[in-house]
Every structure is written in structure tokens, then in C-alpha cells.
Symmetry: C2
Subunit: 126 residues, 2 copies
DNA sequence: TTATTATATGACATTTTTATCATATGATAA
DNA sequence: TTATCATATGATAAAAATGTCATATAATAA
């Protein structure tokens, strides 16, 4: 039973919210849906070069959290970004832009890459 | 060389930004500094019941990202929340509150707990 | 000076998250 | 019906994040 009325969110919800958006692939999906409009999974696959099953798993997360909406079009599923998320993405740009270089230099979040690892998972798949 | 002028942030910065705040302990530190005002590490330790070295590691992350500021007071270090973060925390409350139950039911983010694990790390330490 | 208090750091084990593979489901076309 | 296309799911290996311990540093007190 899921209720829709407003509640002051608890810590668990807030943490989940940020964890959902903190994933770079999920974030790229949101940005793409924001900039290019609604599209189906295989279009996202082509644009983002992310494995189909990987995409589906991440879309499920975004859908569960209501960051995206889904419509059925025959055998395709068309995903679109939730209006709130669109606004949020814009509103944080200024802050992150200003402090970008500090954030990037955080040695708690960043780990040096070794030949076999890409701790941030950001460069590959691009 | 860290520059302060505004840039449109890249994906890496955005991902780091959210990963910094997605950690429940770091988020609780921010909330505490927001609600109770500036305080030193040992005060946070008492209030939040987080290990001293764990706190220091997480404070370093928050400081690196400029989510908090630090002042010296004798041998104590006094941390305070950055004004932007204060606003952000409030602005997302409505959205998360509305969709809280959806977010909580996301089975990509949530993993069932077993006797030896607390995957979310949320209940313990309270 | 040495002792004490407060905080920070490095190493690394533990826990959690992510990526990938094999397979399932569901819609439509042949 | 069977074949094909589009997407979803479950299991689990690989990678990354977190927690903890031992120890370092830095300020002040004795």
C-alpha cells in the first residue's frame, strides 16, 4: 500500500534518493531523457552505449523512485523524465560548477585508478 | 591549482557531488550541523554516535567538497554547514516526501537484510 | 619537558554496489 | 503456431565504498 500524501522524509528515503541519482549511468540516463526527450530502451542503448540489461536494471531503479515515467508503445517501453528531476538537475549546476575542482580533488570519494580498475566508472562507456 | 569561477559541471563532478551526500553518515552530519549549528568533532561524536576516525574521514570528504566549512578553536576544529547545502536539503524534502514510499520500495537500491548485514547502515548507530 | 586532549590519516578487512551473463517474458510478425 | 524483437529479471563475479584499527599530528596543560 503506497500512499501519495506529503510526509517529511526520513533519513532512509533521503539516502536512497541520493544513492539513486549518484550513479553515473543513472544520471546520464536522466540527462539524456531531459535533453533529448522521451525514448525507448533501445534508443538509450544506442545513445549511451550501455548494455541492454544494465540499462533495464537502472531504468527500473529510476522508475521505482519516480525519477522517470514509463509508457507502453507496442513492444517498446518509452521512458521520460519526471518534471521535478528536470528542475533539480538545473538547480544544482551552479553550486557544483563553482566548487567542481574541490569536489574532484576529494580523496575520500576519489580513488586512484590502477591498470585493472576504474573506480569511478566514468571514462569507460563513453 | 583550484579555480573558483563558474563552469558548467561535468558528469564526474555531478556524480561525486551526489555520492558525497548519498552517504547516510555524511548526510546526518550535514543535518546536524544545519539544525544545531556549528560544532567540533567531539560534539558530533556525542550527538551522532559515530566513531571518531570515521567522523574525521567523512568530515574530510564534506570539507573537500565544500559542503562544510572549518574553523580552528584551540585544539578543536569547528565545522559548520555551507549555506547552499542548507537550502538544498530543504528544497528536496517535498519531492522525497511525496515519493518516499516508492523510493523505499526500490529493489535495486534496497537489499534485504540478513542476520549479519545491514546493507543500508541506517538503523544502527541511532 | 612530558602528558593529555582533540583530531587526522593510512592500511586494509568488510560490506555494498555495479556489471555481466544467461535466461525469461511479452508483444507482434510471419 | 513459431520466430523475432524489445525489454526485464536473477544470479553472481568484479569493483568500489565503508568501517575500524593502529598510529600520527598538533595544541595545550601540567
Amino acid at each position: 500500500m503506497i500512499k501519495m500524501s506529503y510526509n517529511k522524509p526520513d533519513e532512509k528515503s533521503i539516502s536512497l534518493f541520493f544513492r539513486a541519482i549518484a550513479n553515473i549511468k543513472r544520471f546520464r540516463i536522466l540527462v539524456t531523457l531531459n535533453e533529448k526527450g522521451p525514448m525507448c530502451v533501445s534508443q538509450l542503448e544506442d545513445l549511451l552505449d550501455i548494455e541492454q540489461s544494465d540499462l533495464s536494471h537502472n531504468l527500473k531503479c529510476l522508475l521505482n523512485c519516480k525519477f522517470v515515467n514509463r509508457e507502453y508503445r507496442g513492444k517498446e517501453k518509452v521512458y521520460s523524465i519526471n518534471d521535478y528531476m528536470r528542475g533539480l538537475i538545473n538547480s544544482i549546476n551552479n553550486h557544483i560548477g563553482t566548487y567542481e575542482n574541490y569536489i574532484k580533488s576529494c580523496d575520500i570519494l576519489n580513488v586512484k585508478e590502477t591498470k585493472n580498475s576504474n573506480k569511478l566508472g566514468i571514462i569507460k562507456n563513453r
